[in-house]
Structures are given as C-alpha cells and as structure tokens.
Symmetry: C2
Subunit: 355 residues, 2 copies
C-alpha cells in the first residue's frame, strides 16, 4: 500500500530526489563508484556541491556578498555558531517555541540576550507581534516556522538590525528577502535533503567582528573560504539536496511552491475548521502552512489513538503530534502531494462519520 | 569496467553495505518509506542506531562505562570538542601529521598544549618514539593513522595518563584496548560509512571536570544522555555504518580484518620494495597498513603522471598522493579486496617493464 508520509522531519522527499539518490548509491555520475564511496575532492562531486550552492542562490535570489554553505552538525550546532561568530555584546531573540528557546539558551553563553517577546505562557500557540527590537543589539534572531506548535512567520519582518533566521522547516516554501539577514540556516531534513546536512546562507561582511577566539570548525569564515570543503562534507545528503533543488526549479521555483503549499494547508485547515471532532491548536492568523497541528475536541479526546490507528489503515504515517501539543501534526512539506493531503482529509471525515 | 577504489576517504565500502543501502533508499525495513525520509524517532530507525552502537561495543570489546555515539560535524569538530570537554589546564599531543597538527591548533584555544614530539621536520615520515608523556597533563592525544603520510601507530602505547585517539582512518583494523582511552573518535568515511557521521567512544566518568561553559551540542554529556538523539542524527550514514559493522562480524571481527589488512599491505609494500622504479615514503617500521604512500625514484619522477593514467586504464582510481607527499597513495581499507591490490601490483610491474 502506498504510504502518505506526514513525518515532521526527517520527512517526505520527492520521488525524483529519492530515485536519483538510489541510482547514485549504485553508481554515481558514470564513475563506476557509489556516491557512498567517492572522494569529496573528485571532480564529479565538486561539481555537485558547486551546482547545489548555485541553485540555492538562484532559487532564493541570494544577493552578492552571501555564501551558501553545506555543513554538518544540524541546526542545533548553528544555535552556538551564530552567537560565537556574531554576538559582540547583546543579541535579540524572539521566543516562539522549543527550538527558539534552545537557540536562546546557547546565545546566553556568549553575551547578553534580550528576549523581545515570548508566547511560552500560551504554549506557543501564536507568534508575538507587539515588541520592540533593540537597535543596539548585534542581530535579531527568529525561528520562521515552529514545527512543534504549527505556527509560522510568513511575512518578512521589519527589523532595524540584521536578522538571523532558523528556517529549518519552511525554507524554499516562499521567496525570502535574503538581504535582511546576516545568517539564514536550516537543518536539511524537511524541505531539502535527508538528515545530515545543514544549509547556511551567510553574509561574509557580518563575520570577523567579535573579539573571542572561535574554534576553526565553528568559524563561518573557515567554511566560506573553503567552499564547504574545509573538511569532508556530508556527501550523500548534499547529492540528494541537489536533486531536490533541481526538482524545485522544474516545479517552477519557490513562488510556485508557496502557492501549492498554501493550497494544501488551506484544504486541511478547512477540513479541521469544518469538523465537529477536530480543532486546530494555533491561532488562525499564525498557522503554519508546513506543520498543521490539531487535536480532538475534549468530548472526543479518548479517540485520538483510535484515529491514528484508523489513519494508518489508509497508509497515513507520522501524524502523531509532538508531546508538547498532543493530538496530531500533519507536516505538508514541499514534496507532499495534494493527493496525500486529500487521503488524510477523507480519513478524518470517514472517522468522524463513524463516531 | 570494474573500478578499483583506492581513494583515501570517502573510500571503498563493502558491496554488502552499498547494496543494502541502495535497497533502503528505495524502501527501508518494510516501512514503505525510503531511509531518506523516515523519522529518526521511528521504532525502525531507533532499532538501527541502537544495534549499530551495540555492534561497535561488541567488535571493539568496549568496556562498561563507555558510550558509543554517532555525531555530525566530522573528526574536525572533535578537534575542538575534546579540549572543550577534557582540557582543564594542560594536554599533551603527539604531532604525527597534518591532522594531529590541526587537533593541536584547536586545543591551544583551551589551555596549555605540550607537544611531546613531532616528526614535522622529516615531513612526518616516521612516528616519534623518544618522548615523555607529562604525568600532570589531562590527557595524551594521538592520531593512530596518518592518512596523508602513510604512517601508523599500531601498538598500543603505554601512557601514564588517559589517552585520546583520532582513529579516523584505521579504526576496526585491529583490536584496541579501549580502557586506555577517555575518547576514541573517527570520521566514518574510511572504515565505516559514507561521509557525514563521526563515531565517538566516550568514557562517561571523564566528562564534567572542566570549569568552562560548554555549548550544548559540543558537550559529550548531551549526546551520552540522549543516545546520540539529542538532535536529528545523520540517518543514512548510520544505516550504512550498521551494514558495515554486520559485514565485519560476518568477516570474523577485527582480529581477522587485521590479518587480511596486513596481508594486503605486505603484498603492496613487497612490490614497492622490489621495484626499481617505485619507493616508499614512510620509514618501514612505521608504515601504515591502511594508506600505502610511495613515489617514483628521482630518475623516473617525470613518469608519475603517466603511471596514474596507465593505472586508470586498469580501472584503478584514487591513487594520486596528497600534495604534501606527492606521488601515489593506495588506501587499503577493510573493504578493499586482495584482488584489487593485485591489480595495482600487476599494473606497477607492467608499467615498470614498459619503461
């Protein structure tokens, strides 16, 4: 039976990316070798990493002065790399969820952190909007999509200082004005690649202004100067990333992807809002189009586990909500087809009719 | 034509590991999903990472009190993680090559570094032996195999203090007395897996004795307490690592692998030593059984490029030496069959006869 993969990450990738990766594991680029065992310095792989960086630049219209890097360690490593490289005295952070919170925790090791606003007391059901970004801070850090809570900042914020954004779970789901950011980073395992690589878009002129000594691997300048090849990069995840990027271009780019993503999310939110049994957890105006979080209304609460079991009979996997929210989370990343969203909507309706 | 993969890393993996990975990219463990898109928290992948850690423990007879971790960032990130976690006031390092040197550079950011000996002046052609390890240092760091220079420490050293070893390029090529080490680490892309995962064997009681604040991702205790799942681990590289480990067990374990590795290296060194044209670069007693470095004698020097071209007509790839040594480097990792080594030896003889 066909599976409908709603996992929050690692998560669904396009058939194009998966099939090409499977081929490359058997043989890569006519080399007679597997992508698993080819030197990262081979001309064939050098071409891959260069093309992948160029395609990111093209798809996101990355301006001059920025570098596209493919690093190891995950977005969690960026939580400390960002302040290591950019925090001189004070940084401003917006607390919109678990991951924002983790980023704040790391920044505090390096200097003063001004948390301009937090929706923690409301279990992060909304994105705070009434706050002032201190003009004397070194940067303003945001988490554009909150995977666990299903909220998202989709409108480019107005900031008097450069921004830094964790876009792990919604990058490539909309055009971004990269010039507003010193750093954009994201773990690849949602909209780009399998786990093991982190995409970083770094403004070169933002680097080199802190006094502290930075370990070589944590210094963005190391990776900028070596084109992500200071040490051995995660070869296969980068190869798969390139396949995803090619598919994105074929699909029509990030504007078109946003249109498709919005349509998928709208269909599912409409089903939730029209249901007697299910209810969304995030405030409507801040709803994520990547992660749709919903629960059962109190009177049906005891049926939550039954619904997951029922959905699995339709091939639906990965919809169990994070324990911080409970209920369900349907992740609708770029590679998710509308047809799978429809299978979920139909399952919800059928289950509701049965009870 | 069959390729004989002598790359120094990423490098040859067993057909068993490659074929099983190709299958898992298509479908993983009967889930109906690719290993590229499965949640790291799924029960199927949790079983993989647990089994992989257990197999490392079994193959290397890891004692109680040690944890096997699979991290991102490469061995280069370990160069700073080791002193971050272990260096209180002073650490001792043995300088046996480029990678040892890089590890020393990072340690200096965290405290006093006593480089007990170096063979740098001899272009690292040997492993220094006359030195005293300071008993008051926090640890003694060694690089067991020097990929670039083709030297190796194969005999367990006697140290009055706990050791830390970078075993990136010779782990699983011999039994190791793990109890002598606080940390053993290695980038996986030689004897274990594709690039993107770093194996760490860490002694839990060695942690927590430094005063400095450690960023969460750089603190071994983070990964120990979460079983390498604090953040999303590099899923596919870990899956391939498990396949390699299973194959190692099937092959008879590390003692048997050492026997095979020694036989392969002996055959190639014998061909080099018996040649009028080729000459080894490392002193015989310190020769690596993983990376065989050799050059052409001065009178044949101008034929080096021709030999690489000639070898490529036999399907031999990846034998160009690192620029620091020049000439040739044949990496004979565990997955390299004797038959491929024989193809190289035959090519050397044929080329020599032709000139």
């Amino acid at each position: 039976m066909k599976k409908h993969n709603f996992y929050a990450g690692p998560s669904i990738l396009s058939e194009y990316a998966i099939n090409n990766t499977a081929e490359a594991v058997k043989e890569f680029a006519g080399t007679g070798l597997s992508i698993l065992e080819i030197s990262h310095r081979s001309k064939e792989f050098s071409a891959v990493i260069e093309e992948a960086a160029n395609m990111v630049k093209e798809l996101l219209e990355v301006p001059e002065g920025y570098h596209v890097l493919f690093l190891g360690g995950g977005a969690s490593l960026q939580f400390c790399m960002v302040p290591y490289n950019l925090l001189k005295t004070k940084a401003a952070y917006l607390d919109t969820g678990t991951w924002a919170n983790k980023a704040i925790k790391e920044a505090r090791l390096f200097g003063e952190v001004d948390v301009v606003a937090s929706s923690k007391d409301a279990n992060y059901t909304f994105i705070p909007k009434d706050y002032t970004i201190p003009a004397d801070a070194d940067y303003f850090h945001i988490t554009t999509n909150n995977t666990i809570y299903g909220t998202e900042i989709r409108k480019e914020l107005d900031s008097p200082i450069p921004m830094v954004a964790d876009m792990s779970s919604d990058i490539f789901s909309r055009p971004v004005d990269v010039s507003k950011y010193d750093i954009i980073y994201g773990g690849a395992q949602k909209n780009l690649a399998p786990a093991g690589v982190t995409l970083v878009i770094a403004k070169e002129s933002a680097m080199g202004h802190v006094d502290r000594a930075i370990p070589t691997m944590l210094d963005y300048r190391t990776h900028i100067s070596k084109g992500s090849m200071f040490n051995t990069p995660p070869v296969l995840p980068i190869y798969t990333a390139l396949q995803t990027l090619k598919w994105y271009k074929e699909m029509g780019g990030v504007k078109k992807l946003e249109e498709l993503d919005k349509a998928k999310a709208a269909a599912l939110y409409e089903a939730i809002d029209g249901s007697k049994m299910f209810v969304g957890t995030a405030v409507p105006e801040d709803r994520s189009i990547m992660n749709v979080c919903f629960v059962m209304k109190p009177e049906y609460k005891e049926l939550e586990k039954d619904f997951i079991d029922f959905a699995s009979t339709k091939g639906i996997v990965g919809i169990k909500g994070h324990r911080s929210v409970g209920g369900f989370r349907a992740s609708l990343y770029n590679a998710m087809p509308m047809s799978s969203v429809q299978v979920l909507i139909d399952a919800m309706k059928e289950f509701e009719n049965n009870h």
